[in-house]
Amino acid sequence: MENKSDALLRKMLKKWVNRQHPPDNGRARLLWEAAHISRNNIDLTVILFRPQFISSSSSNDWPPKFFSWINENSIQFGIQARII
């Protein structure tokens, strides 16, 4: 059984912590950021296994194709800075 000083300590600590409350805008901030992260969550396997990147016609033509694909799809994936 808890003694008096323990009970006092418990009450004291709870009162101290309960004086402050989480911010009111916390929920909106969290959901906004979570939504932002979800949009930017690019699955790289989509890029790597696209047929145009595994073409065996030339070993030198994949970089331009890769970057043009990134530029074409950047808006879709929410990429802020486009690769030039």
């Binding site: 000083s5 009970a7 989480p22 916390g26 959901l31």
Partner: protein
């Protein structure tokens, strides 16, 4: 229709965790509303800083969203939240001790011992500041156990599972933490908490 049937069904944490794994932000919002108090209180008690506690709370729920796929919906969510909150709070305290204390001391010195000014004194109620200082002066491992036990009402077994330490270690940390707190606050209790003192005498 019976009165009870009209009441809205409460969605369980495990159902919400499953929805979260499917990418539902609404589920994240409900979990936030349900558990934010627990996370904020724990972070605040360990860090002693309301602003940091708000940031850490944000970080905990963001990680819940990010690592939802790794969470077992069949298990209770609260231990995961407590574990994440204590870990992030420990990291925050360690970083602050390492990097910011020297700069804070210098800033106070340059500003002419800001902590002695009437404005600062008015900003922070003296009696509660003493409680905060007493908790903050505990070594981090003792502080975590004391907070989970006294502020969150968790059992020794629950604390042991959350912090991943033996129950005996929890007991000893709690013992030393409790003794140190009583030593710091015991003499002050009569002055700063007359209403509490009255209840127990």
């Amino acid at each position: 229709m019976p009165k009870g049937a009209e009441e809205k069904r409460v969605i369980s944490d495990s159902e919400l965790a499953l929805s979260l794994q499917a990418g539902s932000l609404e589920a994240l919002g409900v979990l936030y509303d349900r558990h934010r108090g627990l996370v904020f209180r724990t972070a605040l008690a360990i860090t002693g800083d309301a602003e940091a506690a708000a940031d850490l709370m944000h970080d905990v729920f963001l990680r819940l969203h990010r690592f939802a796929a790794h969470i077992d919906p069949q298990r209770p969510l609260e231990p995961w939240l407590y574990r994440m909150t204590t870990n992030l709070s420990y990291t925050w305290v360690k970083r602050r001790q390492r990097w910011f204390h020297p700069f804070e001391d210098m800033a106070d010195w340059l500003a002419g011992t800001r902590k002695d000014t009437p404005a600062y004194q008015a900003e922070m109620d003296d009696s509660w500041r003493q409680v905060q200082q007493a908790v903050s002066s505990l070594p981090l491992p003792h502080r975590g156990v004391v907070v989970l036990y006294y502020v969150n009402d968790l059992s020794l077994q629950e604390i042991s599972e959350i912090l991943d330490i033996p129950v005996g270690t929890v007991k000893s940390r709690l013992h030393y933490g409790r003794q140190a707190l009583k030593q710091s606050l015991g003499l002050l209790a009569g002055e700063i908490f007359p209403e509490l003192q009255y209840e127990f005498t």
